[in-house]
């Protein structure tokens, strides 16, 4: 009997100590967790501070340019402020009409070239991508390898013969040299982007449609295209931005100021540097970025996903 009492007693003690240990352990782990939580949130705060500061640093040049576009001329240089002492909105009106040809024409030209180019890119690149991703035909691998190689070729290598060709055709000083190549899938990057996307669509769709007697043309239009709107939008957005900002091709092919696109017109400000119209120059520079920034803000999610998908520049 005493044995059992002692044993019981010991058992009690043991269980008590276990309990104590348990509560101890629970407390310690709670505290540890709280500590870690505190440490983590402190770290997160530090990170936010760093990232926020860095974001401001990154955006500062853009903010400064926006301010400079409405500053009085004598306040632009040697001045770090992004808040003008007075707002000279007339820089925009004067800049718009500063050249013999007004920016209305330049914008109309830029939009025309850009929209036609985007349409060309979407049609021709999705055609090629559909063939590469979903159809079987002889020499497919060979052509695909060649297509991938053209991604690497610098535009400068084909520039001179292309110029001679378009000159012979009488296309210089028209928009044809800027637009027609896009209808011939010259921006092969978008083929690559779309191939990546088309390959992810389930094959069964094509097969089922085929059994129902759908032709490959019908499958492209009725199945692949409706399912590929995100990829098409991504390609469309990027080609919009790249064509809008394109400088080299317009520089070579457009001579008459009436045909100039916006980047070419901006360059005229640089050449007239000495006549000091910096406010107007910045005003027109800011305006030239507006379409790109708008597209970026509206389609930001698609753009960022698109880069993850293909590694665009």
């Amino acid at each position: 009997m005493p044995d059992t009492t002692i044993a019981n007693h010991e058992l009690n003690l043991a269980s008590q100590s276990v309990e104590a240990k348990n509560t101890n352990a629970a407390e310690i782990s709670k505290q540890l967790r709280a500590n870690r939580h505190k440490r983590e949130s402190r770290q997160a705060l530090l990170k936010h501070l760093f990232l926020g500061f860095f974001a401001i640093l990154m955006l500062y040049p853009l903010l400064w340019m926006m301010a400079a576009s409405v500053k009085p001329e004598n306040e632009i240089f040697g001045n770090l402020s992004i808040w003008p002492s007075a707002f000279h909105w007339d820089n925009y009106a004067h800049g718009w009409n500063r050249m013999q040809v007004s920016f209305t024409t330049f914008y109309a030209n830029s939009f025309l070239v850009t929209i036609l180019s985007v349409i060309g890119n979407l049609i021709s690149c999705s055609f090629a991508a559909y063939a590469f991703a979903r159809l079987t035909f002889d020499l497919k691998k060979f052509w695909f390898a060649l297509m991938m190689m053209t991604l690497m070729i610098p535009y400068h290598v084909v520039l001179i013969p292309q110029y001679v060709l378009f000159l012979e055709l009488g296309w210089v000083d028209t928009y044809l040299p800027l637009v027609v190549p896009r209808f011939l899938a010259a921006d092969a990057f978008f083929i690559f982007l779309m191939v990546q996307f088309f390959r992810q669509l389930p094959r069964e769709l094509d097969e089922a449609a085929m059994i129902d007697g759908c032709s490959p043309y019908k499958i492209y239009w009725a199945i692949i295209m409706p399912l590929s709107l995100p990829a098409m939008a991504t390609a469309g957005i990027f080609s919009f931005i790249w064509v809008w900002e394109d400088f080299l091709a317009p520089l070579i092919y457009l001579n008459d100021m009436n045909n100039y696109t916006v980047p070419l017109a901006l360059r005229l400000f640089v050449d007239q540097d000495s006549q000091s119209a910096f406010g107007q120059m910045f005003a027109m520079s800011v305006l030239s970025l507006v379409p790109v920034i708008l597209v970026f803000v509206i389609f930001q999610k698609l753009i960022i996903k698109g880069i993850g998908m293909s590694g665009l520049k």
């Binding site: 990232l51 055609f127 001179i160």
Partner: protein, 297 residues
């Protein structure tokens, strides 16, 4: 015969625009420019065959050619690592420990999307001017900065800074790569008390190698092709004192200012060969340092 058409017709029908473009705008012009590089031609009359004379002049006599190589390679060697280092650093900070990174991602990416535009090149000219923003900052520290753009010793660095400013897209690609590294690896490393630096060099970097490789190739080719911003900042001719004479700018002026089409074609093919060699060597050496997870030995 019928079978042959049934099998091939749809594929080639869809491929037609690209095939036309490939032959008329890529392969054809490339071969023609190869031919032109062996000739002398000012676009008046017929090209005159001169054999290797253009290349001989280029490599043996033309100081500006070597200057343009010097400028381009210096730029590539400085700008690509700087941009990638920035991109990787920010991607690592963004990757763990904080939520709501969307806004930073977008803000950091914005310069990349605007950076190629003429507007930004114009802005850069004025920021680095003698009385520009950069010197206005320096003056607060009692430093009188130079005319960064006008001074041949510093002008190239303004373009390197411009390149660094546009680290957005490699950052996004790094971020996607970092997200694919299993967290268990870091947890195991924590238990083994591996330092953060050790974790970076033993886990992050090796597993990120394929992404890093991809970024290096892409960014280097991109850097070799730099044109618009350098053109605006250097007044179109590589000035001051040829310090911004990028290969592409030299080529452009030979072709479209002086109409030396033969020589410009030889320059174009040299550029193509440089980029081709770089890509080939990178792919060849990549098997020694790029580890692909799903690869079997």
């Amino acid at each position: 015969m019928r079978k042959f058409f049934v099998r091939n017709l749809p594929g080639y029908a869809f491929l037609t625009p690209w095939l036309l473009g490939f032959f008329l705008l890529a392969l054809g012009p490339m071969l023609i420019s190869l031919y032109l590089s062996f000739t002398k031609w000012d676009m008046v009359g017929d090209p005159q065959w001169v054999g290797l004379a253009q290349y001989e002049y280029m490599f043996l006599k033309d100081k500006r050619f070597w200057q343009s190589l010097d400028v381009t390679f210096t730029y590539v060697i400085l700008a690509v690592p700087a941009r990638l280092a920035f991109a990787l650093m920010i991607a690592i900070v963004l990757d763990k420990g904080i939520r709501k990174i969307g806004i930073y991602r977008a803000l950091y990416y914005l310069p990349s999307i605007l950076g190629a535009s003429i507007a930004i090149a114009i802005l850069w000219r004025e920021i680095f001017n003698i009385d520009g923003v950069v010197n206005a900052v320096l003056i607060n520290f009692g430093i009188q900065g130079p005319n960064w753009i006008g001074n041949p010793d510093t002008s190239l660095y303004t373009l390197v800074v411009l390149a660094m400013w546009q680290f957005g897209s490699p950052m996004l690609i790094f971020l996607a790569g970092l997200r694919n590294i299993p967290t268990e690896l870091y947890e195991a490393a924590e238990i083994d008390a591996a330092s953060k630096a050790k974790q970076f060099f033993s886990i992050t970097l090796p597993l990120l190698a394929p992404v890093l490789f991809f970024n290096i190739i892409l960014q280097t080719i991109e850097a070799f092709k730099t044109f618009s911003s350098a053109f605006i900042i250097s007044n179109g001719d590589g000035s001051p004192a040829d310090s911004l004479l990028f290969f592409t700018i030299y080529l452009f002026n030979e072709a479209f200012t002086y109409f030396r089409m033969g020589y410009a074609s030889a320059l174009a093919w040299t550029l193509l060969i440089i980029i081709g060699l770089f890509t080939a060597v990178s792919f060849y050496t990549s098997k020694y340092w790029v580890y692909y997870e799903n690869e079997r030995d």
